[in-house]
């Protein structure tokens, strides 16, 4: 179903040129958002505004509600209360302006690695698509794996393929849930460099969950720490020299507050 105006409505296709923060509304805004699973509150109330071009890293102990936060921003689930806004309009579902890297790499098992990466490029011309896929394969070091099916990949390769898939359509907002969790130190550094470079050159807004404090305090421009469940923001700081210690203390507090209690 190739559309006639092939690039016309491609989401975020023009972001590289546009640079950060043209509109005054935050790229992402959460207003008194809470989320309850059955009867167990998992998040909130959380208030958060993410200006366009911000690179936010999110830290917090396991099970505190980070992924829940991300799923609300992505539009995978509606908040139990409150509103999630993207570019000033309420989020009603997942959309191409917000690219997502899941915590567990959910590659489409029926597509090859190249097929997965090309999934979001349906509206590009064949050659353009192939070029973009090749570019992303190179960026994630998966050139040799283009034709493999997801089940033939190692854990880290899956994660890299998932990252490439999310980056492919150049979304305006990138939501990444521990994207480098399964990568060795070297590959991880390389990927960090790539993401930083991408952010620098395109002004993409990033929400980046990680459990690596060094990563949190060096990669982005701003860090929030959650404590929970239900997840609340206990620290919200711009990246600076002494931040690492503060963030570590915040996670330690949040985690020990419920150590031995419900997780």
């Amino acid at each position: 179903m190739p559309s006639p105006d092939r690039r016309g409505d491609e989401p975020g296709a023009d972001v590289p040129a546009s640079g950060p923060a043209l509109s005054s509304a935050p790229a992402i805004e959460l207003r008194a958002v809470t989320r309850v699973y059955r009867d167990r509150p998992a998040l909130g109330p959380v208030d958060l505004a993410l200006p366009a071009g911000e690179f936010l890293t999110v830290v917090g102990p396991s099970g505190c509600g980070k992924s829940t936060l991300l799923s609300l921003v992505a539009g995978f689930a509606p908040p139990t209360a409150g509103t999630v806004l993207a570019d000033g309009t309420p989020v009603t579902g997942p959309g191409p302006s917000r690219g997502v890297v899941f915590q567990q790499p959910r590659l489409f098992p029926w597509l090859s690695v190249a097929g997965n990466i090309g999934f979001g490029l349906r509206r590009l011309a064949r050659a353009e698509r192939a070029a973009r896929v090749a570019e992303l394969l190179a960026m994630t070091g998966l050139e040799g794996a283009a034709k493999l099916k997801p089940y033939e990949l190692s854990g880290g390769m899956r994660q890299r393929a998932a990252i490439a898939r999310a980056l492919a359509p150049r979304p305006k907002v990138l939501l990444m849930d521990e994207p480098f969790g399964a990568l060795d130190a070297f590959t991880r550094e390389r990927m960090q460099e790539e993401i930083r470079e991408l952010w620098r050159s395109t002004g993409v807004t990033v929400l980046f969950i990680t459990h690596d404090v060094t990563e949190a305090t060096t990669l982005g421009t701003r860090v929030i720490a959650l404590a929970g469940p239900p997840g609340r923001i206990t620290l919200d700081a711009r990246v600076s020299e002494g931040l690492r210690d503060k963030v570590e203390a915040a996670i330690r507090d949040a985690a020990s507050a419920r150590a031995g209690v419900a997780s």
Binding site: V100, R122, Y151
Partner: protein, 253 residues
Amino acid sequence: MNLALRLGAVLFLLAVWQVVAWLKIWPPVFVPEPLAVWDQLLRTSSEGYSGHTLAGHLLASLRRIVLGCLYGISGGVVLGLLIGVVPVLRTLLNPLVTFVRTLPPLAYLSLLVIWFGIGEEPKVWLLLLAALPPVAVATADAVRGVHEDYLNAARSLGARPWEIPYRVVLPSALPEIVTGVRVAVGVAYTTVVAAETVNGVPGIGGMVRDAQRYNQTDVVVLGIIVIGLSGLLIDYLLQTLDRRLVPWRGRHI
């Protein structure tokens, strides 16, 4: 190895059959000897039966089965997707499909004759009605089983709502749909005799009925075996297709 095992099993079954026929546990009218059936195979293949050779009967039936299954499977997949994907249609179509798929063909056969006459149409329709439900049910259930993350991922990647069914739901549900298709083909096969009660010659089902009427059990058994073998072949093709289409069965990540 497998082949040897299977050959052995077939020979064993043949031996059991021969012994049962010899012992005359049941009247010979009901259990003909293997050789008699073999004779009928040769005879019906050369001289024919009811004016058509065995191959002619088989081809006529296969044509109906293939057509009925093609329509039934297509319809079943579409219906199943609609039921699985569109909530309003689920509310309306799900009970309707369930209702229709419980109806016994023998009860509405005459309606098909009224609507479609006595040519090929009513037969193909009956086979269609037999093949559709298993596929529709399997598809609808498989759609409910598609991992929500796949749907979320696809939407995040810019897939439009109307693209989701064929870009995500269908491939993800494929293993179960293929299972549904295999069941459907089997059910269509079991219906072929019912479909060929009206003006069913040439046709294996019609041949079996003619033979039944005149107690030519060897022809009946021959017909049954031919039906079974051709079904076996089709199922084998489907299973091969399945392995080709769904290499990730049991290994999705």
